[in-house]
Symmetry: C2
Subunit: 512 residues, 2 copies
């Protein structure tokens, strides 16, 4: 059937989607989510059909993806014929019968997801089925490899490639900005990719962006690493395991994530990492609430990683309060820089050197934490960080005081004497976001106290910074209902709670 193109003028999230009227659909004997082949000149593609009512009968509405591939413009006439379902849809249907998917089937599914051939309905069914049934080790391996193979990969001339990943959820966690230069300054390769904030006030990519560009392409990233051994770049522009972004879009509203571990390990495998330390912030207010949950998760990661040829150890870290004092891109970049220059908060130093230490011991060093601490204190890590900043296109001579912080601010003070006994991570993240973070780089929160800190009435608890007084005022309003720092009696915490490096044996640590 010949139909006239109507350009809708926006994207469909990578999917190949066209819209046709219900009368046309009946004539073609197709329904919503069936496929059609669309031909224009010597080009043809397969697209997913959405059937709509009240579209003019001779029109086919096309999203940008389809328009670009066919090179059609408004009013062009295309030939539309019904097409069969993509092969991978058979495997998704197979999964709905509780079957396990083999390597070929997983590959085909991931390929078709990346190519935009799979509708949201079909993808959601796959994700929900995997959530319900649980992914087998074999499936997880197959999906992980397929995610790597359908994206960009980084090939580095090194047999040993170190890496670090945090499950996140703790405000102010600028640990990567200390770990990467420590590791790189010791001659090891560490191709660190990071995310931007999703639910938090700042991701590592947002923090690092204060000091240097982070939206590098894969070849640019490679150059930085070949020059400096390390990098701190945004993962989003690299095209590593691109299926992940598409899958997350349907996982997010459902609050399920069967692809969680494969997605993370795919990104590590794609940059060639051989030794990975996984930071699992744990505790009340963190993503993982108890050490026993953290252990289970760690075992799943270790098992899958080992089958992928990655040696992975997990660091279960204390996640009940912010790391350091600063929350928000600029405030955190400043604190990280000051820490590298020898003037950092003790919990950040403890966490960063513990994690760097685990990595160093994984590749054969003894006393990893001490080596890391010495590297930090000697100024070697700072020097390396400045090299990385320069290689990524930033100013290597940046001073902490150069970093612009929002000029609108107010401070909240203790209303009573006592100890800080509860810091609400989510509330601090919300305050930072309401102040404008991460979009307004200078917005954020500076927290003066830690859990267990003794405070007197009138002591400052935290200062909120913003670039706009409207946003600062919005923070004042939400603070009428939020109490991010509670005063009472205190406890003191060590940062590293436990290191997990093998499959289960006799674990005698007491449960928190």
């Amino acid at each position: 059937m010949k139909l006239k193109v109507k350009i809708l003028g926006f994207q469909a999230g990578g999917k190949h989607i066209v819209i046709i009227d219900d009368d046309i659909a009946e004539k073609l004997d197709i329904r919503s989510l069936d496929r059609v082949k669309i031909k224009y000149m010597d080009r043809e593609i397969v697209a997913i059909v959405n059937v709509a009512k009240f579209l003019p009968g001779d029109i086919i509405g096309v999203y940008d993806e389809v328009a670009e591939l066919l090179k059609v413009r408004e009013g062009d006439v295309v030939e539309v014929i019904p097409a069969g379902a993509p092969e991978s849809l058979l495997y998704i249907r197979k999964k709905l019968t509780r079957a396990r998917l083999n390597a070929y089937e997983a590959k085909k599914i991931i390929e078709d997801i990346v190519n935009g051939y799979i509708s949201d309905v079909e993808l959601t069914a796959l994700v929900t089925a995997l959530h319900y049934q649980g992914m087998s080790l074999e499936e997880a391996l197959n999906f992980t490899r397929a995610m790597v193979e359908t994206g960009e990969t980084l090939k580095l001339p090194s047999k040993i490639v170190l890496d670090k990943h945090s499950l996140g959820g703790v405000p102010g966690d600028k640990t990567s900005m200390i770990v990467v230069p420590i590791i790189a300054s010791l001659g090891y390769i560490i191709p660190k990719t990071s995310s931007r904030a999703i639910t938090s006030a700042a991701g590592t990519a947002d923090r690092m962006e204060v000091l240097a560009p982070v939206s590098l392409e894969i070849e640019e990233m490679k150059k930085v690493i070949l020059k400096t051994n390390g990098c701190l770049v945004w993962g989003g522009a690299l095209g590593l395991a691109p299926a992940d972004d598409i899958i997350i879009r349907v996982e997010y509203p459902l609050g399920i994530d069967p692809f969680f571990i494969p997605s993370i390990l795919a990104k590590k495998l794609a940059v060639g990492s051989t030794h990975v330390v996984l930071d699992i912030p744990t505790g009340r207010g963190a993503k993982v609430a108890t050490i026993s949950e953290a252990r289970e998760l760690a075992q799943d990661f270790i098992q899958l990683a080992s089958h992928l040829g990655i040696k992975l150890e997990a660091a279960v870290t204390y996640g009940e309060q912010p790391i350091g004092h600063a929350i928000g891109p600029a405030l955190e970049a400043k604190e990280a820089l000051m820490t590298l220059m020898g003037n950092g908060p003790s919990d950040l130093i403890d966490k960063a050197t513990s994690i760097a230490g685990i990595l160093l011991e994984m590749v054969g060093n003894r006393n990893g934490r001490e080596i890391a601490l010495h590297t930090l204190q000697s100024g070697k890590a700072e020097k390396k960080m400045r090299e990385i900043i320069e290689a990524q296109g930033g100013d290597p001579n940046v001073k902490p005081e150069d970093i612009g912080i929002g000029d609108k601010h107010f401070t909240v003070y203790a209303e009573t004497d006592g100890f800080v006994f509860w810091i609400n991570n989510q509330a601090l993240a919300l305050i930072g976001k309401t102040a404008g973070s991460p979009k307004d780089k200078g917005a954020g929160v500076y927290v003066y106290t830690k859990l267990g800190t003794k405070v007197k009435k009138g002591d400052p608890l935290f200062t909120v910074y913003a670039e706009s007084s409207v946003k600062l005022h919005a923070v004042e309003k939400i603070l009428e209902e939020l109490n991010p720092i509670a005063i009472g009696s205190g406890i003191q915490a060590k940062m590293l709670l436990e290191k997990i490096d093998t499959r289960p044996e006799k674990i005698i640590t007491l449960e928190r």
Copy 2:
């Protein structure tokens, strides 16, 4: 945030969907499938967000549903603010933890589905979860009731309301057109709703439409029943259990149907049916392949129906070949009319009187099948059918020869002597559809033979009718690869294989 309306100009399948640019989404801190509240004048609605790239930044694209509710036109400026997730999304997420849903939760979910508040991703997750976990009886009851309560209902002044439903899948099954007038002529109420063809060459609504209008609204349907005791109308225009249409849209591409039994029973409950006979065509080439499958399915129907206050019995019928000879709306309407006038094929008469007989026995009659047969043979059923045709707006004096059949046709002949040992239902349906059925009412297939019929070389096997020679030619082409009627050695079949009216007891019938 204020955004300018761009009218997309088509529907979103009943859902409230808007499209905004990714930069706007970031500013509003929302992602695809999050909800926004949209205000215009004194009106406001909640809509599901789709985030697109390359949409102009100050624009919000709205589908027809949203435009109609807000009464906005191209260029109008609306206020857009982030809104929380609908309550029912919490229950869908709860279902993903394997929890069972209670009556309130099921109701809320179905309400939000009908109101267009639930995205396809969320609906698919629910459907997939229910498919994986299986619906509990309690959930099935709750969903069924919720589906009824969120749609139109028919209230008739009768304590006993009979009904019939077929699971379909057998070509040429015009049984309802015989059963309804038999039952109605005996003074019982039978508010029969039917579907149009989906994968077949004709649905009962398509067949009946040859004799009378079938797209009645619920009040018109009521008038017909009050006048004649029965009706044969299309279910699609009545608004009964409208959640079903929305749910089927995501079930279809996945090939799963957890709402199968609730959907069917909701439509029966909505018209007030108290006694229902369920026809389960069974056998090779039918939807249900074996009697044991048919029994299991029947038990599920009986159990759920009984909790809903519906007495249901199932008729497992022979489904390995077409019913009667005619396939296609006009051919079938003609055959049904001739059957009512005393000149019908024996298998159709056997099936229709068996099913009518079960219904009659369910409401206290003895020898139901004999009563039904007598009613048919006496001409009472024909008279009743003509009353129904008239009440629905058709010509009560219609004669079989008035019914127009496609004037383009060709006949296929036996190439050898023997018995008909295999009739391919799917192939016959495909031939009918290719010939133009159900859209071209006069298109279809007339099959001269039955399974077991002895044929001689050169005997006619079937004639294909079409309204257009292009379509008839298309049938000739597919017949090069299809052999719908195979000649060899034959068997003879009784139509009613088994009647199932109670929960399992000692069943000693041999498995086919």
